[in-house]
């Protein structure tokens, strides 16, 4: 028996669904508009969603959703507790950026950060890596030395798994995970690293920080009504300031930082953008004696600095250096950076 309705009924049902969803998700829509790439759609969507949110909030129609969010937060601490007693592993609670209470002058911190640049690397990463990865993994010895892994998907994919295996293998180190895919320093409106980083590391005070970030930053951004076009002097100045602020934060407690630059990419246009970011970041970081910037192309690029996806290893075996997307590192590729990283660790903090 086919249980069917007429098109009129379907239109009524969808119209009703749309209206109720608009009422219940007014705040969610503001977050969505914030996350959009700088451009016409964002320019239109932001004022519309903000006005709509003000109306809904004024009528207290957003109360059910806020109540539901509160309940979720309460339950989540019960259902996914801090597990300091796990064997060899302890996790600090994952940072969940909250949607700010909707007020007229609301500050939004998105729940689902996602940047989209013309060659957005995080569109192409697998489900296995696009996670809110903001935990601390601890080995058991006392007192643990702390090493933080910081960055976007350039850290999360390939590099972090290799570092986690190799660093936690030796006792006496606490590995603090503070990386999140789909983020960058260019769009604090999407994910505000200076605000989120202290929450990600919690009480940890890492002596060493390994950072790989920037793949999502080759895009325009907007501050108030001013749009900064990628690569222009104004953009460079603004981005440089953001890198500088973040570098200050990373080194705040005397931490030494190894900042891994962006490798050459398969797509030449994207690669040129990454080269520009490398140049700019390197220049800014030269102001910080505690920060060492390394060029991954020394280890990963082919002859003449070309993109190299496969390479013969010392045993003559052909290994894959880069993921299918031509952006991220494979684990075998990330392993090529290990000697440089461990050399830096030994030079910088021999006791760790």
């Amino acid at each position: 028996m086919v249980r069917s309705a007429s098109i009129t009924d379907v239109i009524r049902a969808l119209a009703s669904a749309l209206l109720v969803a608009l009422l219940l998700e007014a705040t969610g829509l503001v977050v969505w508009a914030e996350r959009l790439e700088v451009g016409t759609l964002r320019d239109v969507a932001q004022p519309v969603t903000q006005t709509w949110q003000r109306i809904v909030t004024g009528l207290h129609l957003d109360a059910p959703r806020r109540l539901a969010l509160d309940l979720r937060e309460r339950w989540s601490t019960t259902l996914i507790p801090e597990s300091e007693d796990l064997p060899g592993v302890a996790t600090t609670p994952a940072v969940r950026p909250q949607i700010a209470a909707p007020t007229a002058a609301v500050v939004i911190e998105p729940r689902e950060p996602k940047l989209e640049s013309p060659a957005d690397p995080d569109k192409k990463i697998s489900a296995a890596t696009d996670a809110a990865e903001t935990k601390a993994v601890v080995s058991t010895d006392q007192p643990p030395k702390q090493v933080a892994l910081v960055g976007d998907s350039m850290m999360a994919v390939g590099l972090a798994p290799v570092l986690r295996r190799n660093i936690t293998r030796e006792n006496g180190k606490r590995l603090v995970r503070a990386y999140r895919s789909g983020t960058g320093l260019g769009r604090p409106d999407v994910f505000n690293w200076p605000v989120q980083y202290p929450q990600m590391i919690g009480a940890a005070r890492p002596e060493l920080v390994i950072c790989a970030i920037g793949a999502n930053d080759a895009q325009n951004f907007q501050v108030e009504r001013n749009v900064y076009l990628f690569g222009t002097p104004a953009w460079k100045q603004m981005y440089g300031e953001r890198v500088r602020d973040f570098a200050k934060l990373l080194t705040r407690d005397g931490a030494h930082v190894l900042w891994i630059g962006m490798p050459v990419m398969r797509e030449s246009g994207f690669s040129r953008r990454m080269a520009l970011i490398n140049l700019l970041v390197k220049e800014v970081l030269a102001e910080f004696p505690q920060i060492t910037w390394i060029d991954p192309n020394t280890y990963l690029a082919g002859s003449g600095g070309s993109f190299e996806q496969y390479r013969q290893d010392q045993r003559g075996k052909l290994v894959r250096l880069r993921a299918d997307d031509g952006i991220h590192l494979s684990e075998e590729g990330a392993a090529y950076l290990l000697p440089a990283i461990s050399g830096w660790m030994q030079r910088t903090a021999p006791g760790i």
Binding site: R12, T78, R165, L318
Partner: protein
């Protein structure tokens, strides 16, 4: 444009309005759907739109050639070869080249070849299988005549199934394009229920399991106890089911709202008591495709036991490779081929020895389900692991790790939900559907919106792409 996003919701509302607005002019209606489907695909990367068109063109040209009757076989072989070569170029070239060079190197032959694999276009495996299905169905006379180019383009690109299926057989979908959908017979209640269930499976269960447990366990299994690794494996079993069947549910629901019917793709697969049954319930459209277009042409099961076993292995190995160009997928396919073959031999032995009565008992059925589920989980380790060595590390940790029952209740709940839903009586969903039908349309719509909000609130903060997008 992922299904659980505002962008897709807006796109779908536009598609719904345009599709039904033009339904009285059937040709225009199909053209509108075609343009929308190409827009949907181009939203990811417009560079691959010509590829989508080209693969469809292979199907159409070959189908016309087969229909004309002269050199039918050549047209069929040529068309299939064109599809497979295109698929191979994008998906398998680097893998085969890498392994060939390594093999040559192990024999002391030093070959120097610069290898760079092309970017893998989204959904290329699904497009290719659709085009091949069209050619074979025309060859077998299952379609009265070769369809028009526009119909072929729409069949391959129709947006609800374009990226991750279900794989529609030409002989079952093409007839739907012959007449306009009926605006008085839309299964609204079923469609909205499927979309809500699909979103719940994907956003709440699959995403939570992936981001809060499974990814961690598979990234660094040595950091976890054996019990946590075991939960991680069960978690992946639940995650991949909820991820993929959730996508399918949403695809079927969206198609229903547009007046089209897709076949079911999952039927409580973890309730299966044998490998054969599992493949009748898991990714049904792929297993049907492989049976119809690969296993049967190879000779199927009518050529004696050993040839049957050989055909099973070939089919499952290629089915494994279809999922990805990596050895872990080959091993996964081999594992399932072995399960099917061993069960076949075992089955024949028990039948021959008159153990039918015992086999029909409840105890045997439950024991079989338990064993089969765990055998499938072993396969999932290879499927999920980044490579073979990681898969073995997971297994090693499972055996050698310590056992502490220190499991997060939230994750246990997700695993139980993901696997337990297989045992939900079908009448529950039917009743929910009937209840939806009896509701006034406005109440039905409001209930749907409330369920979307609940799903959004319950889901984790970080989105995760659908697993099957990579295939």
């Amino acid at each position: 444009m992922l299904f659980p996003t505002v962008e897709f919701a807006l796109f779908f509302l536009l598609a719904f309005a345009l599709a039904w607005g033009t339904v009285r002019h059937h040709v225009t209606h199909k053209r509108v759907l075609l343009v929308l489907s190409y827009f949907f695909y181009g939203f990811w990367d417009w560079h691959f739109l010509p590829l989508l068109f080209t693969i469809s063109l292979y199907g159409w040209v070959a189908a016309r050639g087969i229909e004309r009757g002269k050199y039918k076989r050549r047209w069929l072989i040529g068309g299939i070869a064109a599809c497979l070569l295109t698929l191979g170029w994008y998906k398998y070239l680097a893998f085969f080249l890498q392994n060939f060079l390594n093999l040559a190197n192990s024999f002391g032959i030093e070959l120097q070849v610069s290898v760079t694999s092309p970017i893998l276009p989204l959904g290329i495996s699904f497009m290719s299988f659709h085009a091949i299905s069209l050619m074979i169905d025309v060859w077998r006379g299952k379609l009265e005549r070769a369809p028009s180019l526009e119909d072929v383009l729409l069949y391959v690109a129709f947006f609800p199934q374009l990226i991750a299926g279900p794989i529609l057989r030409a002989s079952t979908f093409m007839p739907q394009l012959q007449k306009a959908p009926d605006p008085s017979r839309i299964e609204t209640s079923r469609a909205l229920l499927l979309i809500a269930i699909g979103l719940f499976k994907k956003v709440v269960i699959a995403n939570s399991l992936a981001t809060l447990m499974v990814d961690d366990v598979f990234a660094n299994p040595q950091s976890f106890s054996a019990s946590q690794v075991l939960l991680g494996i069960y978690g992946y079993a639940a995650q991949i089911y909820c991820d993929f069947s959730g996508y399918t549910d949403i695809a079927i629901g969206c198609a229903l709202l547009l007046g089209y019917r897709f076949p079911d793709n999952f039927d409580n697969p973890y309730r299966s008591a044998s490998p054969q049954e599992f493949w009748r319930r898991w990714h049904i459209s792929l297993s049907t495709w492989l049976r119809e277009y690969l296993f049967i042409p190879l000779g199927g099961s009518r050529q004696g036991e050993w040839l049957n076993v050989r055909n099973l292995f070939i089919t499952m190995l290629l089915g494994g490779l279809w999922h990805g160009a990596a050895w872990n997928f080959v091993v996964w396919g081999f594992w399932h081929g072995m399960l099917l073959a061993v069960h076949r031999v075992w089955d024949n032995y028990w039948y021959a020895n008159g153990n039918d009565e015992w086999r029909e008992s409840d105890q045997w059925r439950y024991a079989s389900r338990f064993l089969l589920f765990h055998a499938v989980c072993v396969g999932w380790i290879f499927f999920r692991a980044a490579d073979l060595s990681q898969a073995f590390t997971v297994m090693q940790q499972l055996v050698a790790g310590s056992w502490h029952w220190d499991l997060a209740p939230g994750m246990l709940l997700c695993v139980l939900l993901g696997i337990g839903m297989h045992y939900l009586p079908s009448r529950v969903l039917l009743r929910a559907q009937l209840m939806g039908m009896r509701m006034p349309a406005v109440v039905l719509g409001a209930s749907f919106a409330i369920s979307l909000t609940v799903i959004e609130v319950l889901g984790p903060s970080a989105p995760a792409p659908f697993i099957y997008f990579q295939f």
